[in-house]
């Protein structure tokens, strides 16, 4: 059907019969299941996709360039908008890169908070994925929007928890270089526990509809098989790669925050199809719930900001050196590469590059789509879960 290496799927349209009438269909840019503004040009033979060419860039906002203009303090609320499904992760990635370059020690309480936020955000992000995926599959899961509504309800409770602490449901601006801005309240810990209880119970219900539903199985099993080697060669990380048997999780391989002390379970699957990706994500949701439960009661007392808070937006200065740090976002390795020594004597970056997992996830579309029908393409795109804000930046 398609090979991993050797043939470039972008070029091999000529290997198909050129005299055959191929229909060209644009999936997107505003198709509801393209998760943002994203276009895939499909060459169809009947209903079978012969070739798929993704076009990204509809959501390009020049965030990296903007980050070179603004200071390190100011970019934190800006990068929130990259991966708009898990803003906490973006903030953490930037803050951690700056801390690593400056050698700032983050206080333990802030590390605990960050871990809790990260895991809750992972849960929220996977819930959103589950909901939209249910909608993408349409009738297979109790009629379109049902699962979507359920998952949004659960996600909403998590966003409510974040609002309690940070003051915003989204785009929190809660991380600062050196620690956190907002402290958790006793109400937060208490609410978190009850919320997780509810979510765990409800997840059980959804998994039940999912896993044994025959239509659902037929639409996901054996569809969009991503091979482990291909995943590695395209730089795919996160649940996508783990579903293809790549045993890679930064929380365990390069522990940051307090993951080193925790026993993070890494879930892998070997099949690499849509069903495997679903299973891996579902298990990760349970794992996130478990991690938050484990640490929510043991948050140590103490400061949450590791340095003297500065009034001026330029108080963090990084000299002309370079650094890279990465975290495991719900979609994979989210890295930030910074060259310091930019404007206003190092208060902003000379160059800032964000390595977004979604871009890599979207890059396997030309390999996965050919040979499947258009409706399967929607299912595949759903399980790839690329967030376009992050693909285009």
């Amino acid at each position: 059907m398609h090979s991993v290496t050797g043939v470039d799927p972008h070029l091999d349209i000529e290997t198909y019969d050129p005299s055959a009438d191929l229909m060209v269909l644009n999936l997107g840019p505003q198709h509801p299941s393209t998760h943002g503004v994203f276009r895939v040009k499909l060459y169809l033979d009947g209903e079978i996709i012969i070739k798929a060419v993704p076009y990204a860039g509809y959501l390009h906002r020049g965030v990296e360039k903007l980050c070179e203009e603004l200071t390190f303090v100011q970019i934190i609320p800006i990068v929130d908008k990259n991966d708009y499904v898990s803003p906490m992760m973006n903030e953490q990635a930037i803050a951690m890169a700056c801390e690593a370059m400056l050698g700032i020690e983050v206080p333990p309480r802030a590390l605990y908070l960050r871990t809790i936020f990260a895991e809750l955000q992972r849960l929220a992000s996977h819930l959103l994925w589950l909901g939209t995926f249910g909608m993408d599959l349409g009738g297979a899961l109790g009629g379109g929007a049902t699962l979507f509504m359920y998952c949004f309800r659960e996600r909403e409770t998590i966003l409510g928890l974040f609002e309690e602490v940070t003051g915003c449901r989204f785009h929190y601006n809660t991380h600062a270089v050196g620690g956190n801005r907002h402290d958790i309240t006793p109400k937060f810990s208490c609410d978190t526990k009850t919320t997780l209880e509810v979510i765990e119970k409800r997840l059980e219900e959804y998994v039940q509809i999912f896993s044994s539903n025959r239509i659902y199985r037929a639409r996901t099993q054996g569809i969009g098989v991503l091979d482990g080697d291909l995943a590695n060669s395209l730089g795919i990380t996160g649940p996508l790669a783990r579903a293809s048997g790549v045993d890679h999780d930064l929380r365990r391989d390069a522990p940051y925050h307090i993951y080193g002390e925790l026993d993070v379970k890494v879930f892998t699957e070997s099949a690499g199809d849509c069903f495997a990706r679903t299973l891996v994500r579902l298990n990760e949701m349970y794992e996130s719930i478990r991690i938050v439960r484990e640490i929510i009661d043991s948050v140590p007392e103490g400061p949450i900001l590791g340095m003297k808070p500065g009034k001026s937006p330029g108080h963090i200065k990084i000299d002309a050196s370079q650094g890279y740090s990465c975290i495991e976002s719900p979609r994979g390795e989210l890295g930030t590469y910074i060259i310091g020594g930019g404007k206003s004597r190092g208060a902003s970056a000379y160059r800032l590059k964000i390595r977004s997992p979604s871009l890599h996830a979207a890059s396997c579309i030309p390999y996965l789509f050919p040979g499947h029908t258009v409706s399967d393409a929607v299912a595949i795109l759903g399980t790839l879960d690329p967030i376009m804000g992050e693909v285009d930046r």
Partner: protein, 191 residues
């Protein structure tokens, strides 16, 4: 043991019952119907409400103390802004949406005051950096967020529209003072 790898179990083969089409559909419907009736019961009896919808303009949720709405200026009892036009918020704002024209009063207690203070709300992202930068507690995030309008010009808030009496901002100011009192590393509190 850290970093345990778990191969996810995958029930490739469905059981006999699961392979039948109708029972599985009924099972799915049972879940959704269960939700529906639970919500309906809560809605009618008013006890243990599980429906999640807020009838928005009539019903409102109370946002937490930390809620960040649009930035406003604190108005003192004499009707003047507390702002001393130092320009720090203007400098801190990532979107450059604040513009201040400073003025001076001869002999008054607070000599400097903003002659004009505009915030372009169409660009503001409610990030709160201006509030954090202000040394005078003069610009704070209010609980107001319903500022949509049909025309961009109305989103350009001038000083008169931004001024809010201090008493109305009590909740936010108290929250902020609680935040300031928090001890930072090295035992320093932010003043």
């Amino acid at each position: 043991m850290p970093g345990e790898v778990i191969q996810v179990k995958r029930h490739e083969k469905l059981g006999f019952l699961e392979r039948l089409y109708v029972p599985m559909i009924v099972q799915g419907l049972a879940v959704t119907a269960g939700h529906f009736f639970r919500n309906l019961r809560g809605f009618i009896t008013g006890k243990n409400r599980t429906d999640f919808v807020i009838q928005y303009p009539d019903e409102r949720v109370d946002y937490p103390d930390a809620f960040r709405g649009m930035p406003v200026l604190v108005q003192l009892d004499n009707g003047q802004p507390r702002c001393v036009a130092c320009g720090l918020c203007e400098f801190a704002c990532p979107t450059d949406c604040i513009s201040i024209v400073p003025g001076e009063i001869e002999g008054a207690r607070i000599e400097r005051y903003p002659e004009a203070f505009d915030i372009d709300m169409s660009r503001c992202m409610f990030c709160g950096l201006c509030e954090e930068a202000c040394p005078e507690e003069a610009i704070v995030m209010s609980r107001e967020f319903e500022i949509s309008s049909y025309d961009r010009q109305t989103l350009n808030y001038d000083k008169e529209r931004l001024l809010v009496p201090e008493t109305l901002l009590k909740r936010r100011l108290e929250f902020l003072r609680g935040e300031y009192d928090r001890v930072h590393a090295g035992g320093e509190t932010r003043s």
